[in-house]
């Protein structure tokens, strides 16, 4: 009896194991967002960049914490203030069998900034850089001014073969021109249905464990979770926060989480004496209170970040005290998340001359960040508690961002108080400093997303110094100092939390969470 039971169990496990063994080589991933093209230079967007990373390589690559690691360049260094030299890897072959050398790099930098109809071009990373071939395996890049972020910028550009220099976006989408040097080869793309790749057996780096990968776009969150539960996909990304607790309890699944480079913050109007959505409680005009740093500090103090994280975010966020989480390049060691202290906040308001608060309407998107509208509602309640009578208006992102950036008749930001987020593409502190806290200037290309128009000469100077300092330690110090002044002293924006991203997979699989929120088949490992 006992033996028979064993035999049955063995037979069952063999039967169950057979399809497993065949399927084990294939990985199916349910994606929340689909790339808009396979062309690696068409659209600078997270899903596109993630797809490109499978098919192509960069000279310099970013690891899961966005630290720079050698890619097709084995090493790089500044040879003088204005020139960087990249030594290229030898013996690398494209998927079509041709050799990789400096000509391919030149072809790539010629094509990447000039793709027709690109909705968000890579030209921003290549502008002002001159590429020169020294020999087949050495490239020199020169700039007019010292440029420390060279390797960061270069790490965004995917290298194509010189044969594909004149290829169109359609040629890449159909696979005709899609021969890269990445860990996976292109097999087929049916937009909206599937993207199939197979392992590049001749990959120059660490060979991935999955022979075939199928990406299935499943935009609806509940449907994505259901597909995982039903076993139709092996892993999903962008797990809806409401489902995380349940999935964690499920013994057949494994949940992977990691903090992202995205900070969710509040930006307040600091450039108008008379801010459009702020009035006294009786509706009469008052001077914009946010011009006073004490008021900005009071708002930060009045927000209970822990409560928002535990109740609204279901625990999947980390309280934020600056622009990037600990461990990133250029963060300040001095800034910790503000402790909740409503009493002190009220005291600050009284000191600033607003003991009774005022009336205000706050704005935010409702389909851009995790639980964005709910966070803003919670913030509004907390502000009401210290006497600021706050009402909330949220809207779809396509309407919100236009109004938030240039909604006023004179093309200035329309709102007085907004909730937004920022993900640092370069994975270091200059990206948010430059975009959010540098003085808004079209000519200099600074502060493009500085919607509160925070402006401080010392911060600007520190950012300028950092952006011209090639020495890593000195630059990190300058960035940290700029953050200290802009946030610690002046509270230019009010950080709330860093988003934590969640992936869920079948038991036995684990995803190495990436801070840049990308989903890589290379990051799915067996436990």
């Amino acid at each position: 009896m006992h033996i028979r039971k064993l035999a049955v169990a063995a037979a069952v496990s063999v039967l169950a194991g057979m399809p497993m063994a065949a399927a084990a080589q294939t990985l199916t991933i349910g994606l929340g967002a689909e790339p808009s093209a396979i062309d690696p230079h068409y659209h600078n967007l997270t899903p596109n960049n993630a797809t490109s990373a499978h098919l192509f390589s960069q000279l310099v690559e970013q690891d899961e914490k966005q630290r720079l690691v050698p890619g097709l360049a084995e090493s790089w260094k500044p040879i003088n203030d204005l020139t960087w030299e990249f030594k290229l890897r030898k013996g690398v072959k494209f998927h079509d069998g041709s050799d990789f050398n400096a000509d391919d790099v030149l072809a790539t930098v010629a094509r990447a900034p000039n793709v027709p109809n690109s909705p968000s071009s890579f030209s921003i990373y290549l502008k002002g850089k001159t590429f020169k071939k020294v020999d087949d395996y050495t490239i020199q890049v020169s700039t007019e001014k010292p440029y420390p972020l060279m390797a960061n910028d270069i790490s965004t550009i995917h290298i194509i073969s010189d044969k594909a220099e004149k290829a169109t976006t359609e040629d890449f989408n159909s696979g005709k021109a899609t021969a890269g040097t990445g860990p996976y080869k292109f097999v087929e793309w049916v937009p909206g249905d599937r993207l199939v790749m197979e392992r590049n057996e001749g990959y120059w780096g660490k060979k991935p464990i999955w022979k075939k990968v199928v990406f299935k776009p499943i935009k609806s969150g509940p449907a994505r979770v259901a597909a995982l539960l039903a076993g139709d996909v092996d892993m999903i990304d962008d797990v809806p926060t409401v489902d995380i607790a349940n999935l964690k309890k499920n013994a057949k699944l494994a949940v992977s989480q990691g903090v992202s480079n995205r900070v969710i913050y509040l930006a307040v109007d600091q450039f108008r004496e008379d801010s459009p959505h702020i009035t006294a409680k009786d509706g009469s005009k008052i001077r914009n209170p946010f011009l006073d740093v004490k008021v900005r500090r009071a708002v930060s103090k009045a927000i209970n970040r822990e409560l928002i994280i535990s109740r609204v975010m279901e625990g999947v966020a980390l309280p934020a005290g600056q622009l990037l989480p600990e461990g990133f390049f250029g963060v300040s060691p001095n800034l910790k998340p503000e402790k909740y202290d409503a009493k002190y906040a009220k005291k600050l308001l009284a000191e600033a001359g607003y003991p009774d608060g005022w009336k205000m309407k706050v704005h935010g998107p409702n389909d851009r960040y995790l639980n964005d509208a709910k966070i803003l509602e919670a913030v509004a309640q907390m502000l009401s508690r210290i006497g600021i009578e706050t009402s909330v208006e949220t809207m779809t992102k396509s309407v919100f961002f236009k109004r938030a950036s240039a909604g006023s008749p004179d093309k200035t930001p329309e709102f007085s108080f907004i909730l937004v987020g920022w993900g640092s593409g370069t994975g270091e502190a200059s990206s948010p400093l430059k975009s959010l806290l540098a003085t808004y200037s079209k000519e200099k290309g600074m502060g493009p997303s500085n919607r509160g128009r925070f402006s401080n000469a010392e911060v600007d100077k520190l950012i300028d110094v950092a952006l011209a300092t090639v020495d890593d330690d000195k630059r990190a110090a300058a960035l940290a100092k700029a953050t200290d002044v802009a946030l610690g002293d002046l509270q230019g924006i009010i950080p709330l939390h860093y988003q934590v991203n969640t992936w869920a997979a079948k038991k036995g699989l684990k995803y190495i969470a990436r801070t840049d929120e990308r989903t890589y088949a290379m990051g799915v490992v067996k436990q």
Binding site: E34, H43, I124, L229
Partner: protein
């Protein structure tokens, strides 16, 4: 007959022209696609380049004029997001949606008519009442919820059917269709049923009402008096008369099956036009939204025309009336 068709065609042209104006203006005054598309790190200068490239710096009437001029040459614009012609993108996804809508329509006919006629002929049976009560659910439950419930039950709990996506396809006359493969059928069953649910209920109600009415008509009584078998009375005499309203409604509903498969396609990740539209709306991909709506307008106009013609074939009174005018 031909005068009838020509008149209807002229009406259709006016409808399409008016709709193009409404759709274009409606879509183009909302929000700003550039801020959706561009990387947040892009400097102001890059944003201005995109605005110029997309022609958004021109006045609205000029944009509309350009759109009409190109549309008359068969070019409905280029998708902001995908960079490919909008028409091409939609046509690529069309077979999947048409297939889904056709299967749903078949389900509506196959389940709806027999159940409805049965409930109409035997109105007092408990089973008939159950059918009618069931049809109320079909009407009132939201598609989104029913779809998710179906996935939970049949895919997650029972594991009978796949939860998402489209199955293997085979090419027929250059079109890739999935309903001819076993894998394809297993994938299409749930979304098609989900989409068909409302239509099944509608057809049940229509055919029941039709059957109830026809039962008491003189020609049915006469057919019975002639001693015709019950089967012949139901299948020929009653059926023929209830088909007219059913055909009219189903024809129009086919249009709405195509146009509003959006929810079902999203829940089941079906790679059709509806899913494309939802994503286009999400990203404010204006050319794609406008092109989609224009195609849907055309589909409705054509279906209406066909229904009118079919109607006049089925019901001689329409023809006579028209000739008399």
């Amino acid at each position: 007959m031909s005068a009838f068709i020509i008149r209807r065609l002229l009406q259709s042209v006016v409808v399409v022209a008016v709709m193009s104006l409404l759709v274009f203006v409606g879509v183009n005054v909302v929000g700003d696609p550039v801020h959706m598309l561009v990387s947040p790190e892009a400097p102001q200068e890059e944003i201005e380049r995109i605005i110029r490239d997309f022609g958004l710096d021109r006045p609205l009437y000029e944009q509309y004029w350009l759109f009409v001029k190109n549309a008359l040459q068969g070019d409905l614009g280029r998708s902001f997001v995908f960079g490919e012609p909008a028409l091409k993108l939609i046509v690529q996804r069309m077979p999947a949606t048409f297939e889904l809508a056709l299967v749903a329509l078949m389900m509506a006919i196959v389940f709806g008519i027999p159940l409805g006629v049965y409930a109409g002929i035997f109105p007092n049976r408990v089973s008939s009442k159950a059918i009618m009560a069931g049809s109320i659910f079909g009407f009132s439950l939201p598609t989104f919820w029913v779809g998710l419930m179906m996935i939970m039950v049949f895919a997650v709990m029972l594991g009978w059917l796949p939860s998402t996506g489209r199955g293997d396809t085979v090419a027929i006359l250059g079109l890739r269709v999935s309903f001819l493969t076993l894998d394809g059928l297993s994938h299409i069953f749930m979304p098609a049923l989900n989409l068909a649910l409302l239509k099944i209920s509608l057809v049940i109600r229509l055919s029941r009402a039709g059957a109830r009415e026809a039962m008491h008509q003189d020609y049915v009584k006469f057919a019975r008096a002639k001693g015709l078998s019950e089967a012949r009375v139901v299948l020929v005499h009653i059926m023929k008369n209830i088909l007219i309203p059913v055909v009219t409604v189903l024809g129009l509903e086919f249009g709405s099956l195509i146009a509003f498969s959006v929810v079902t396609e999203t829940v089941f990740a079906w790679p059709g036009m509806g899913k494309l539209l939802i994503e286009a709306l999400h990203n404010l991909d204006r050319p794609l939204i406008v092109a989609y709506l224009m195609i849907i307008v055309l589909v409705f106009v054509i279906i209406n025309l066909l229904v009118d013609i079919l109607y006049s074939v089925l019901d001689p009174r329409v023809r006579i009336q028209d000739a008399g005018r």
